[in-house]
Amino acid sequence: MIMMRGIVHKYKRANIDTDVIIPGPYLKIHDHQELAKHAMEGLDPQFSAKVGQGDFLVTGSNFGCGSSREHAPIALSYAGIKAILAPSFARIFYRNAVDGGYLLPIEIEESTVDKISDKDEVEIDIKHNRIVNLTINESYSMKPFPELIAKIVEAGGLMNYKI
């Protein structure tokens, strides 16, 4: 988990909410693979077809606002997304992503969002809090994880974490 490399899918707008990440009618579904097929359906119906395993999202601020549905990080993770780079996250989405061990919510500057383009290949170095854009050979900083979050990430989720 220290070093990850993937292709970026960029959705620049802010406030991408849980109703578009996984719409309400799918809340009754608890099969992770089935949820993955409907990830981001409210915003981009082609999403699950175009995302590969280990890819990243780059997006605007307050990603994941709205509902507490853990279906949201589950659908994205099982669709292939392993990290989301955004200026900020809604609090329950952030907790669910980390505590469930589904994907990494990584906080970056607003200006970094502008510098990364759709389809860029990016490397995330958690240990050194660096993001390298391999496509245009640039490097950016990321906000370090708080101590407890880093430990939960390392444990692979809260269920495996020992106080």
């Binding site: 406030n15 909410d17 109703d19 578009v20 719409p23 309400g24 009618p25 809340l27 009754k28 579904i29 608890h30 409210g42 915003l43 601020s61 307050n62 606002c65 709205g66 509902s67 507490s68 549905r69 853990e70 279906h71 900020s88 809604a90 609090r91 329950i92 907790r95 669910n96 505590d99 469930g100 061990g101 708080p146 101590e147 407890l148 989720g157 809260l158 269920m159 106080i163």
Partner: protein, 424 residues
């Protein structure tokens, strides 16, 4: 310390906490429903695949379970989820499982206060984002996901980052045509849908003292829509009177210190407020109802934890009494107890005679689940709390959020309507 800081300090056995501290906090009460419950069970199923076994849960008496999102069972998948949930609560000895069609049941947040399941000073978490609602009783109440609830069911505690508190002072006398919904929509419009992210929204001031519990609950309910971790109101005589009607259980209220520090203080003069509507597609996209009076709508929805409490139904019925609706209108009381009281008070007659259809207590179309979802291009004015694209149905439907009296007034005209413009 603020009330939130004092509750969190007490529950984590610390003399003091300050915003930013990361603490493990003991949990007093936990809730999950027919969406988050099966999600929590799924977390345990995946965990057990790693060779672990859940033999018992931490404290079955501190857990309650509701059936609200997809009930009465909307389809076969929903029916199966409810069977899964019922088997699980039976296996782990959870007695407070509010089943539909078996007496009192309803929307989880509504039951939390109707049944006094949470008391002042407690730390309460639920598997639903609008768990914030219950903070109106003077408890710390926050929404969590499935993994966090599963962890609490094993360990009785969870981590929190102590939030900063934003203080909202509501001053003056509330006009009759203004409801708490207008106040909170105005606030969300001002601070934005991420304006309180990770923070507490606390409400106080002379106007709070005039608001009954049902109205206070609307304020805290929609703190979620500003991103808040929790919403809270310090318990007072109104809180105590409300609880004493529902429980004999002793409780230990917490109040903030006189010198408590707030990250921001916002003051609102409520007597100057007008009815407010949030336009598609954000609860922060607000206008005065009168500015939208030409907007034609297809449907009026009076339902949800936000807008179908007893007081909501009373005030909506007051607008509809003796009149006929011009558009499709649906009324879904938020709990069986409210449904029954509405019947006793004659409110159901008012709704039926006006032409509305009455549905059972359910989250229903609020989250696009069932019972009146919207089709393509349909436009709804609703007492609910959220209007993101696709929230109540088709991704190209539209929802305007408003108070129950604005929704009722709009039902009479077929257009967004300020209740002052249909007054008798």
């Amino acid at each position: 310390m603020t009330i939130t800081e004092k509750i969190l300090a007490r529950a984590s056995s610390k003399p003091t906490v300050v915003p930013g501290d990361v603490i493990f906090t003991r949990i007093d009460k936990v809730m999950m429903h027919d969406v988050s419950g099966p999600g929590v069970i799924k977390v345990f199923n995946e965990w057990e695949k790693k060779g672990k076994t859940l033999e018992r849960i931490w404290d079955p008496n501190r857990v309650w379970v509701t059936e609200d999102h997809f009930v009465p069972a909307a389809d076969i998948v929903s029916a199966q989820n409810i069977i899964t949930l019922s088997n699980w609560t039976k296996k782990f000895g959870i007695k407070k499982h509010f089943k539909y069609g078996m007496g009192q049941y309803g929307i989880c947040h509504t039951l939390s206060h109707e049944e006094a399941l949470v008391l002042p000073g407690e730390v309460y978490v639920g598997g639903d984002s609008h768990t914030n609602t219950t903070g109106a009783l003077g408890a710390f109440a926050a929404g969590l996901g499935h993994t966090d609830i599963a962890y609490i069911l094993m360990n009785g505690q969870i981590w929190f980052k102590v939030p900063e508190t934003m203080m909202f002072k509501l001053m003056g006398k509330k006009p009759d045509y203004v409801m708490a919904k207008d106040i909170i929509l105005k606030i969300i419009g001002d601070v934005g849908t991420d304006g309180a992210n990770y923070k507490t929204m606390q409400f106080s001031g002379s106007a709070i003292k005039q608001l009954g519990m049902d109205e206070r609950l609307t304020l805290t309910n929609m703190t979620t829509e500003a991103g808040a971790k929790n919403g809270i109101i310090e318990p007072d005589a109104i809180t105590d009177a409300y609880l004493r009607k529902r429980t004999d259980t002793q409780y230990f209220p917490v109040l903030g210190d006189i010198d408590a520090e707030f990250s921001e203080t916002h003051t609102y003069e409520i007597d100057k407020l007008e009815p407010i509507v949030a336009k598609p597609f954000s609860p922060g996209n607000v206008s005065a109802a009168r500015e939208l009076q030409g907007v034609e709508i297809d449907k009026a929805y009076i339902g949800s934890c936000t807008g179908a409490k007893l007081q909501d139904l009373r005030l909506a019925a007051n607008v509809l009494k003796g009149k006929k609706v011009k558009i499709r209108t649906e009324v879904l009381p938020a709990a069986q107890s409210i449904f029954m009281e509405a019947m006793r008070e004659g409110l159901l007659n008012v709704f039926l005679e006006a032409g509305a259809v009455i549905g059972p207590p359910t989250c229903g179309a609020c989250c696009g689940a069932h019972m009146g979802v919207l089709g393509k291009n349909e436009i709804c004015v609703s007492t609910t709390n959220r209007n993101f694209p696709g929230r109540m149905g088709h991704v190209e439907s539209q929802t305007y959020l408003a108070s129950p009296i604005v929704v009722a007034a709009s039902a009479l005209t077929g257009k967004i309507t300020d209740p002052r413009d249909v007054a008798n």
